[in-house]
Structure formats: C-alpha cells, structure tokens
C-alpha cells in the first residue's frame, strides 16, 4: 500500500511579522518494518533566510526555518510518498503487570526507543487522580498488558465525545477529561496519563490518517488535519503497540507516523517565535490518497 500525502499549513499575520524562527515536524518517519518514505519535500514560503534539517532526540525529522524580513504570511508545504508494509499478524505476548514491572526495573537503556522516557511526567502531562482512577476502573489485572491498553483506549473512546469546539491546542488533559469532550490530542493525552498511572509506558504519536476509507469502510475522525494517537510498551518481546483512542482501533496501514514523543510538546508540527503586533490566523489542510 502506498500513499501520496500532502500537508499545507499557513499562518497569516494581520500585521507584517519579522524575526521569525520555526521548528517543523511534519515529515513522516522512516521506520523499516512499517513505513518507507520513497519521495519527500518540505518547502516553506517565503523562501527562508535560514533553513536547516535535522533529527531530534526521538528520531523525528525536524526542519528549522528563519524569516528575518517582514512578511504577511508563512506557508509550509509537505508532500511525500509513503510505502506501508502490510500489517504483521497481531500477536499478544501475554506479558502481565508483574512481568512488565520486572522488565522495567531491569531496564538500563536510555536510547530513544527505551520505555523509560515514557513513564511520565512530561512537559504537558502531570499525573491526574481522576484519570488514574478511570484507568484503574477499566484495567484488567489478570490480562496481558496489550489487552489492558486496548481496554483503557476503548473505555476512553466510549466516555469521551469527539468535539472539535470543546478544547484548544493548549487544553490541559485534566480539563478535557472533566468535560468528557475533546479531539484526538486530548484523547491521546488522557490515554497516556491513564496508562502511565497503571505503570505502562505510553507516548504520543502524531501522524496522518488515510482521507477516504477503503471501499466499504468507515470514514475516520481526524482526517482533515494531522492526527494523534497513543503508543504503549508491552514488554521487550512485543515492544511498542499503537492504539487510536479517537477511533477505538489498533493502528494498521491507515495510520502514517510522523513523530514520536512523550506528549504534544515533543511533536508539535510547527512551533515558533516571531515578532508581530497583530493577531495571526492559522489553517491546515491534509490529503492522504492511496496510490492506484
């Protein structure tokens, strides 16, 4: 399966802005067993005065661009073709809580893939008693970690209503959980907190969803912009699994990974600073089309 992905992000400034610098994390990851980037382009208009591409701690592609001169608008365009490997057969290693605790206690790895980065707290995620209680309520101590991840994700999906107007990009997950409304970012943050409360390493994934479902399938929530879901570590044998609480599904070939992090702050598609005296309007469009 291959996708052509196009992303356009535009920032319009009411007053000309200058001395801007932005960090972009918009390009899908190259992960050998899962997705392969065959062609890609990240371009920024106006042409940046300074641009540098690199890789961050977690291995995500990042692009830093600067605009020193006054400008009214910045447009970021990403286009790429991604080849998705067929999903492997779902195997549950059956590792339970005791086994997970023992593995974590013996872990001395601090590389990017290590579960030790994902036990919380993180810049955007502080432990929350209500979310922890909810997670404990739907945990199944006798079952595998993988089954527990799915249970918590499913329960959250059922408890929280998708509502694009209820929250913003800065909403604290504790608030979103209280009002039981939010978007993919909120659900992902809440689920991470829930899993961490159970001692399960969990992190944030940003990425893209296939825009139109395969024939006969259901159009998923979150296709109009960049999407977010959860990854959880189920022990060394099974490794990381990914679950999309917004759509209550394990992640397969409909999800294309852009960045891994502890929470949104590690993977924000655009983060920046500039000097401008007026408001700005941001917009985003995404198209993920299968290549025929």
């Amino acid at each position: 399966m291959q996708y052509d992905i196009r992303l356009t992000i535009s920032h319009k400034y009411a007053q000309p802005a200058d001395n801007g610098r932005h960090m972009l994390r918009v390009l899908p990851r190259h992960t050998p067993d899962r997705q392969r980037l065959t062609a890609h382009l990240v371009e920024v208009l106006p042409d940046p005065d300074d641009r540098r591409d690199g890789v961050d701690f977690f291995g995500n592609a990042m692009t830093s661009v600067a605009h020193f001169e006054p400008h009214d608008e910045m447009i970021i365009r990403m286009a790429c073709r991604v080849e998705m490997a067929p999903p492997g057969r779902w195997i549950d290693s059956g590792l339970g809580y005791d086994g997970l605790r023992a593995e974590l206690a013996g872990c001395r790895d601090l590389s990017a893939a290590s579960p030790l980065h994902f036990l919380g707290p993180s810049p955007r995620l502080q432990p929350n008693d209500d979310i922890a209680a909810f997670a404990r309520g739907c945990a199944k101590p006798g079952e595998s970690i993988a089954q527990n991840v799915i249970s918590v994700g499913k329960a959250l999906h059922d408890a929280i209503t998708f509502d694009a107007t209820a929250t913003t990009v800065d909403t604290d997950p504790a608030d979103a959980f209280r009002q039981k409304r939010g978007v993919c970012q909120d659900m992902t943050h809440i689920m991470i907190l829930g899993l961490q409360a159970l001692g399960i390493p969990a992190g944030y994934v940003s990425g893209f969803l296939r825009t139109l479902p395969p024939p006969g399938g259901v159009r998923l929530e979150g296709v109009d912009a960049m999407h977010a879901w959860v990854r959880a570590w189920c022990g060394a044998e099974q490794g990381w699994i990914e679950y999309d609480p917004t759509n209550a599904t394990l992640v397969g070939t409909d999800h294309v990974v852009v960045a891994y992090g502890r929470d949104y702050s590690d993977v924000s598609p655009v983060i920046g600073h500039l000097r401008s005296s007026g408001p700005q309007i941001n917009s985003q469009s995404v198209d993920v089309a299968p290549v025929e």
Partner: protein, 802 residues
Amino acid sequence: MDNGQIQEQSQPLRELLQGYGLQSGHRDEMLNADGSVKPVWQQFINHLSNLSPDQLSKRFARGDQYLRDAGVLYRQYDEAVSVEREWPLSHIPVMLSEAEWKHISAGLIQRADLLEQVVRDLYGPNDLVASGHLPPTLLGQNPAWLRPMVGVKPATENYLNLLSFEIGRGPDGKWWVITDLVEAPSTAGFAIENRVAMSRVFPNFFADSNIHRLGGFFQNFQQKLFDLRGKSDGQIALLSSGPANPNYAEHAYIARYLGLLLVEGEDLIVHDGQAMVRTVDGPKPLSLLWNRVPGAMCDPLELDPSSDIGAPGLLQALRLQKLDTVNAIGTGVLETRALMAFLPKIAREYYRQPLMMSNIATWWCGHEAERNHVIANRDKMMLGSAFSTVPLMSDVDTTILSSDDDRDKARKATELLTRSGREYVGQEAITLSTTPTYEDGALVARPMCVRLFLGRMRDGWQVMPGGYARVSAGDDAKAFAMQRGGRVADVWVASEKPVQKTSLLQPQQTPAFSRAYTSALPSRAADNLFWLGRYVERAEQNIRLFRAYFARINDGATHNTPLLAHMRANLMANVAPNTVAMSARFGGPLELGLQSASKISDRFSPDGMMALRALVASSRDIDHRTLQIEEIPREISTLLRQITGFAGLVHENMYRSDGWRFLSLGLSLERAANMAQVLAHLLGSNAPDGALDLALEIGDSVVAHRSQFSIIATPGSIMEILGIDSQNPRAIRYHISRARKHIAELPGQKGGRVLTEAARKVLLLETLLATTSVDALTSDMLLQVQRDIWDIAEALSVAHLV
C-alpha cells in the same frame, strides 16, 4: 562560656565576647571549645574590640551606603509583586586560614573534576546508567536532563568552566558539600561587591592584613573567557533573563566588571548556525555565551516552548559548535539532589577516586533499603524532592519529616515514600557551625554555610580565595534564605605571609579585549537609552508646564482663565484640572524612564542611576503628599533642579559612545518636538493673553531674551530665540543640529555612503529651520516640524533599534 578564665583577654574584648554563647552541639568558627579565640580570628577581633559601638555603626553604615549606591540589592517576592530590598550584609566576615582553605580547595577541585566526568557521561554514552551506578529514572524522569542536548559536544573541551559549591562544617570539624551549583553559579559578582563594601567598613585593617584579594581570580577567569572564544573575533556575552530576575544586578555588575556584553534572549538571532547579537550596527557574531538563564529556558524551539527569555535557534548554534558556553546548557542536571546519593559511590567505584570531601549523606527513596532507612531515621532527616535543583539551604519545600513525633504525620510520610519514593530523597540534617554576627552591640553566634567559586583557568581549576557566606537569621539552620532574614557575610582567607594586592576597583584589562567588547551596542540597549532620554525630557517639559500653570493659579488665575484652559487643551493633552492628574504627567514618564534605565544598568553609570532614583523618589513624594497650592512652585523648582542635574550628568560624565548618542538623541528630539508644539500654540494669533510670557518661561529663556532684544517680547522675537536660534539649548534648531551630528556619527552612516533615511530627514529639517524666516514659520508649519521630528525618531528606530 566563662570569660573570667581567659586571662589574656583585654577589657574591650571581654565586653565584645560577653554575650557570645557557644551553642551546644555546634562547632564555632571563631572560638575554640574552651572559649579562646582561634588564631586566625585573633587580629580581626582585636581590631573590632578597639572600635566603639558608635564607630562601628558609622562604619557599617558606610558599607551599606556603598552597596546602596552600587545598586546591590535583592528582590523579594510577595504575592506576585517584587520589592527591592537592601542587601543584607553581615558586617562581620567569616575567617578561614589559608591552610584550611587549601584543604577545602583540594576537595572541591576533585569534586569539580568528578562532575565534569559525570556530565560528560550523562550527555554522552550513559555508561553510569548502563553499568547500574545510576538509576535511569534519575535522568528519564528528570526535567533538568535536556534531551536535545544529548550528544551535543561543547565547542571547546569542557562542559564546565565555572562552578560553585555550598559547604558547611559539622560538629566534628569536617566540611561537607551541601549543594552543587552548576547551572548558574550566580553571586560571584556579589562576592566582589561584598568585599568592596567590607573594605569600606574596615579600611585600615584590610590594608594592613594578609587577607587574600579576589581580583586575581577574576582576571584569570576573564583571561579564560577570551581563551574559550578561541581565534574567532566574535562577541562574548552574558545572557540574562533581564531586570525581573532577582540576580539581575549581579548580571549587570559582572558583565561590566569583566567587559562582557550583557544580552537578553531577544538580542540574539541565529543565522546559518551562527549566533549573532543584534546591535545598532547590525548583527555581530557571538562566540561565547555565559548563560545565566535556566537551561530549559534557553531555546523555546527545542526546549521549554513557553520561554520568552531564550533565543530561538540557540541549540542549533551549539550543535554545530559555532557557539561555546561557559557551562554547557543542560549541565544543571548535576544539581539534581538525588545525584548526591550516588556521587560518593560513583567516585569510589566507577572512577576509583574516593572523594576527599563528601557531600552530606543522602538517600534516594526509590530503592527499598534506602527508603526504609529514611523512614526509620526520619527524626534525623530532611526530606525533599529527588529532582529538586534548588539549593538545599534555600529550599522552603524541604524537610517535611523533620523531628515531628506526630504519629499521623509519620504514617502519611511512610505512605508517601512507599507510593512514590523515587520522587524523594532523605538527607542527613547536618548541625552547622556557628559564626559571629553583630547584633545590638554584641557578637552573636549564628549557623552558617559558605559558598565558594571555582573557575577552570589556563592551568586547571582555581578556587576563589574568599567567597560568600550565608548566615542564618536565628538559631535555626533553615533560616538562611534572604527572604527569611538570612544575611550574607564576606569570607576572608587569611595568609600568614603578605598577599598579592590586586586592585578590585580598577580591574586591569588586557588592552586587546577591553575595547572591542564594550563597544558593540545591542539594539535593545540602544532603544532603552533612547527612550530614557525621551522620558526624562518629557518629564522635564511637563514639570515646567506644571510649574507655570500653578504659578498662575497662585497669582489669582483660575482653571477657567483662558490662558490656563488653552494650556490644558493644547499643551497638556486635555488633562483634568487637578494636581494629581497633572503631576502624573511627569511622574509617569519618570517611572518609565527608571524602568528603561534599569534594563541597561550595565551601560549606565551608577551615579546616573542614583540620580534617576532620587528624581523618581522626589516625584513620588510630591505625588503622595497633598501639596498646598502655594507650596507647588517651590517644591517643583527643587525637582526641576534635580532633573537638570541629571541631564548635566549625562552630558558631562558619559563616555561618548553610541549608547550616549542614543540617549542624547532621545533628549534632543523630544525637546525639539515639544518646543515646536509650544511655539505652535503660544505664538499664534489666536493665543490668549499672557501666552508670549508663558512661552519664554517654559523655554527658560526670559534672561536670554532680555539680553538679546531688550524689548517687549513679540512672536517674532520668541520664534527667533526658541525656534531658529542655533546657540540656545532650548531652541528647536539647536537640537535638530545636534541630532543631525549624532546621527552622522552612528554606525553605518560614515564613509560617504548614501544618506540613511534618518540622516536625510534630519538634514532636510535642519535646512528648513536654517533657511526659513521667522515670519514664515506659521503654527501649521511648526506642527509639521513636530511631525517631522517623530518621523526622524521612527526612521532611527527602524534602522537601528528593532
């Protein structure tokens, strides 16, 4: 203590020591257990005992006065507002013998080397974690471990070049490290200020004694900074978070003292991986940064995105090794309190170098055995956050266990530690030694700890022979924080031989670097200087209007008298006719001026700062009192003298740098614009009776006018003397000419290139004023002149200040 037993003590000495009670269980710095004075203190205590209480209080006041004048103060935060408080100098030094200091130094230098090795590993291979010497969670869950810095190597050899340690002495006489200060080992500058103040308090003693001077340490460190910069000719800057930081005064002081550029995040840009300082002469490359902003706040793009005190892109410059830092960003992770639980063992087992001076015993509660030990010994423990990087003696959140016997609390603490032990450390509550302070005419013993500074010089680590002691406000060892009344004492290292006397007050600077560094003027600093000039001049103009207004009220005019109504409507922005509203018209600009000045205190002379503070204080004074109308002219005249004095200081005492030019430009453009407004409204045909005299009075040119014209004032004669006169420092043309000369001297204007926008505009205006006849200068034209002046200010701002 029984003084009677010590025969050799003189009468005054006995009196001085009479109330000095040794505290049981504490060791004392000054007295032996038998009550005799230790040799290293002898000479000083004798000196002290020969001074009367009256003499002492005069000398202490001299030291305090120095600190006030130098602007040394600290900020106290009370419910979101910060108040500047007097620097709490304890006027009694802490004496250390050279032998003791050398012993301490050896221990600290070893620790500095250990920390360098450890941090190299934490941001490198992580062998300490992999080999089981350090629990991974101390990094993985530690906000001070900055992931984006992993793998980033310093541009030069080392991660650490300046360190500070807080140490204390236990009952057995051994010294212990209490806190490692790595990220921003601040207060080194305060150590100098304390020393200068103390040399004012005890000038004679100090001159004759063998107390080690501090200047040599700073000269060596300055040399080191220039070595670190390497062959590049980039700037060396100290990055501060600005006047809101409690240590800003020290940032400004040390930057000025070492000849570094004082910058804030917004002064920096990164272009093609090169960090640059935005100056009035365009961006200038930066080679070395002395970072005094918390590591996580340094770059909002890769670290804390909420930071508005960092420089976006800074990490890129570090990664490319185009910028070096005094201490690498992220080294603050070494301050993590739980590390202290592992450092002694790491030194012993991993690096095979047992510590000569250990840190206070620390147990991380993430492991069961240690946790149980802490719970069992809770009455001897201080309990705090494992990840805290706040110095132990300043941390108000520490010690939640203490020696509380309450069973309920004990149970709660046990529960807390069992549930989330990895977030806590227990530390042995050390009984600190006491040192004398002078309180109500007598010496009193108070617990103390000492902060010492280490710089990595050309030939290795060097310890500053002196330092900064913190003395508790009471018997309680927890009352060290200045916020809680703790005091600060100078540390004197006494040699048995004569010492080298490097002067502190006139630091010798190697000629090669003294000039290049201070000459670059950051745009932000220039902007503040420009506005300082404008605000002060605006205040002066409004004071003159205020005085003239109430002089007329005193003479029987009312607020409705046409001239006064005309003034309010056209010259005073329709201000309400009362003293409060009117005095706010100069009080406001003065406050703003002080704000601007305090943002550039490294570039503004201490005298200028003092004059400005005094001015603001007088203005506030007028504001807060209900003045009788008849008092106003006299009170205001005093204020006017002060403000004129300030302007005089600017012109008589400031070095003719670009900074001075922007300040002077601010003054000139504001004055010229205000005078244009005055003349436009007071010389017109519709101006009320008395307007001409008023114009001369506001223009402070009554005498000049009389001597030149010796006739009744006419609009023409006034226009000549206040409008187009080239010799009258109150006239529009005088200031436009001066502005033109200043602008011609600004960077980027020399060398016969095409005139800049500001230069072109000011030349046009000067020409207009020089060539237009008095009669042709109508009110409309004058208002246009005023607008032209603001255009010049705008053009300057675009070219140099933003």
